[in-house]
Amino acid sequence: MSTPLATAPSPAARPWRQLLVIWALLLTVPLWLPLLGGYTAMAGRVLVFALAAMSFNMLLGFTGVMSFGHAAYFGLGAYGAGLCLKFVAASTPLAMLAGTLLGGIAGTLFGLLLVRRRGVYFAMVTIAFGQVCFYIAYKWDDLTGGYDGLRGFTRAPIDLGFVTLDIANNGTLFYFFVLLVFGLAVGLQALILASPFGRTLLAIRENERRARFLGLPVERHIWLSFSISCFFTALAGSLYALLNNFADPLGLNYIMSGNIVMITVMGGMRTFWGPLVGAVLFVMLQDYVSSMTTNWMFFVGMTFVLVVLFFPRGLMGMLKKKAEA
């Protein structure tokens, strides 16, 4: 079941063709998406979820560690950004920084507690932590707006000195802004995964015991991977808050976590771009199905089950396998 370590393709060596196709599509979204019955806000949502899933995938697909409570950091990122915009300053970059730090630091600290656990227990504890965050978010309503969510803030235009990017009112411009952040983030992720650190993570994923015997500080690597993953997920969360001009407790709870995992698996959890594909599929599925029928939960659940049973490698995983065969 495990791919030989030596031939595991590193993200930096991805065929340039694939990269080109993906970026060409992403850059031209406002042109072709409405023709297919989509709308630009949907594309923004896809990118945000894709970033969250790709960040999660650093942990799951590349380190082999299963966190089922990742929405906690996503939600914390959203609240961090929202609170900053509402109470501190109407500055988008500051808000994003605040969100990323809040979620990232929480994850880093929490990771310390977890680092010795594995498997099902690890998953359960991450779920529980996620629910604690959810609970705090909706209890501390003086700060977070509680059950109704944090509102009263909007994304602020970015003043670059020579030009002001009005991402508040221009939806298309905001999409490109999100795309820019997304690009930078995944570029950084690719660099990290291609580095010796990243290779070590793969080693840990493949055979933890052997890695330990080789003298690698396994716990420390897992903790770092967890921490990095949480920072990126929190960044995605802060973008989500900017997208909605809203942050709410449901962004933190276990259903959101489950969605992130699903997106990753559906797209292909051991590939770099898999989660992006998964995000596209998932958002499209959710969007169309819930407009057609009120039984959309059935279809979403059915998709989960079918993917797990019949397409466990996800879409990208299957394509990759075909290419290798």
Partner: protein
């Protein structure tokens, strides 16, 4: 044991079939667009799945029937009305996404929604940004027409201030001034209790209360406390299943023999699902089907009843009905579907009796865009001679203006776009 499912050929076929189906979905909106855009499109966002679904389903039923009737009589501005219903699934992100979808892709002229106040706010953010006319039929939290009010948003159902105000006078008069509150600990509950307390203390009352988690299912601890306090009235401010369970346990513990029970809203959808002993207490209804003094109501009830499974319509059906007709009247008065013109037209526009369906003259107040409707205070009882939906007896009617505070007290300041 193999961990792969060996279904390669069927799997491939399945994939191709799904891809084909998916492709079909992607092309269909494109096809519909090409056919022309004459209908007036109204987007209706509600939590059809999730814990508020019973209320949302009633609203959607009411909306669909109303649109059908409207189209029989020429629609809006002579154009047919198309109702696009979207499920917000009780999730804000989804609600916002649907709002974007309805506005950007489907080009709706009007948006309605949501029952969930948090989602209603979030949608208000989108609609005021994009300058789309927005009515909230059934989201109750006060700031929607209070400190967070917007020029393009109108609200049909009552504020907690209105409900609390209407009920308090009656309860004090009949039972006494010593009250005990059981309130859900979030914005809606807190504002509701605060409004009750304000009114109660004005009348010289005293009180104690407990704030509980929203979806509590066990109330014994707080009911024990209440019993010890010996109030004249117990106020059940909980909602949904929590309200139902609180009622059941209140009756189970025999406390209904020692004190009166009351509160703001106990909606018919919830009343129908409690056992007989718990169908009790003093509440207010924002609209009720059995108004013998208002003849147009009976006509409405008889017309809509077959379309909703033979049941009598609830306040939720009425909320959709009024909201949709208000939108129509706004458009017809302004002779346009431009949001700013419609909003100006609807402010202080008195709604005709066949739309209002209640004794008073009702309108959306200009200062805060809140509908000043009548509030019916009365008693809930087990099904009476009128049938399974004969669950409420109107004891008194309070007008909206009486119950609502002044516009200043709501904190609303509407700024119109330049």
């Amino acid at each position: 044991m193999s961990d792969k499912i060996r279904l390669t050929t069927p799997r491939r076929k399945f994939l191709t079939a799904t891809a084909a189906l998916g492709g079909l979905q992607l092309t269909s909106p494109f096809i519909i667009k090409a056919r022309g855009e004459t209908p007036v499109k109204i987007g209706f966002i509600d939590p059809i799945t999730g814990s508020l679904s019973a209320l949302a389903v009633s609203e959607v039923e009411g909306a669909k029937w109303t649109v059908e009737q409207m189209n029989k009589k020429g629609g809006i501005l002579g154009r047919p009305v198309q109702l696009l219903v979207e499920d917000s699934a009780n999730d804000t992100g989804t609600g916002v996404q649907k709002a974007h979808k309805l506005i950007e892709r489907d080009n709706v002229d009007i948006i309605m929604g949501d029952v969930n106040s948090g989602i209603a706010y979030a949608i208000m953010g989108v609609t005021s940004d994009k300058k789309v006319f927005h009515i909230v039929p059934g989201g109750h939290t006060d700031p929607i027409t209070g400190k967070d009010c917007k020029w393009n948003t109108f609200r049909t159902c009552n504020t907690t201030a209105m409900d609390a105000s209407a009920v308090t006078g009656e309860l004090v008069k009949r039972f006494g001034k010593k009250w005990f509150f059981i309130t859900p600990d979030y914005a809606y509950g807190q504002t509701l209790q605060a409004n009750f307390v304000k009114k109660l203390t004005e009348l010289g009352g005293t009180w104690q209360g407990d704030m509980l988690p929203i979806s509590s299912s066990d109330f014994s601890a707080t009911l024990i406390k209440a019993k010890a306090y010996k109030p004249d009235v117990l106020l059940n401010n909980m909602g949904g299943s929590a309200q139902i369970n609180c009622m059941k346990q209140f009756v189970q513990f025999g406390m209904n023999k020692e004190m009166a029970l009351g509160g703001a809203l106990f909606e018919i959808e919830s009343v129908r699902s409690v056992p007989k002993e718990a169908q009790a207490g003093w509440w207010c209804m924002e609209w009720y089907w059995n108004q013998p003094d208002v003849p147009l109501v009976k006509q409405f009830v008889d017309e809509i009843s077959p379309a909703i499974g033979g049941k009598k319509p609830t306040a939720r059906h009425w909320m959709s009905y009024v909201s949709l007709h208000a939108a129509r009247l706004a458009a017809e008065t302004a002779k346009s579907l431009d949001a700013v013109k419609m909003a100006h037209a609807l402010a202080d526009l008195e709604l005709p009796p066949e739309v209002a369906l209640m004794p008073g003259k009702i309108k959306y107040r200009a200062g805060d865009h809140q509908l000043m409707s009548d509030i019916f205070v009365g008693q809930v009882h087990p099904p009476g001679p009128g049938g399974p939906d004969d669950l409420f007896k109107i004891e008194s009617t309070v007008t909206g203006e009486q119950a609502a505070g002044s516009v200043e007290s709501t904190g609303c300041q509407i700024t119109w776009p330049s």
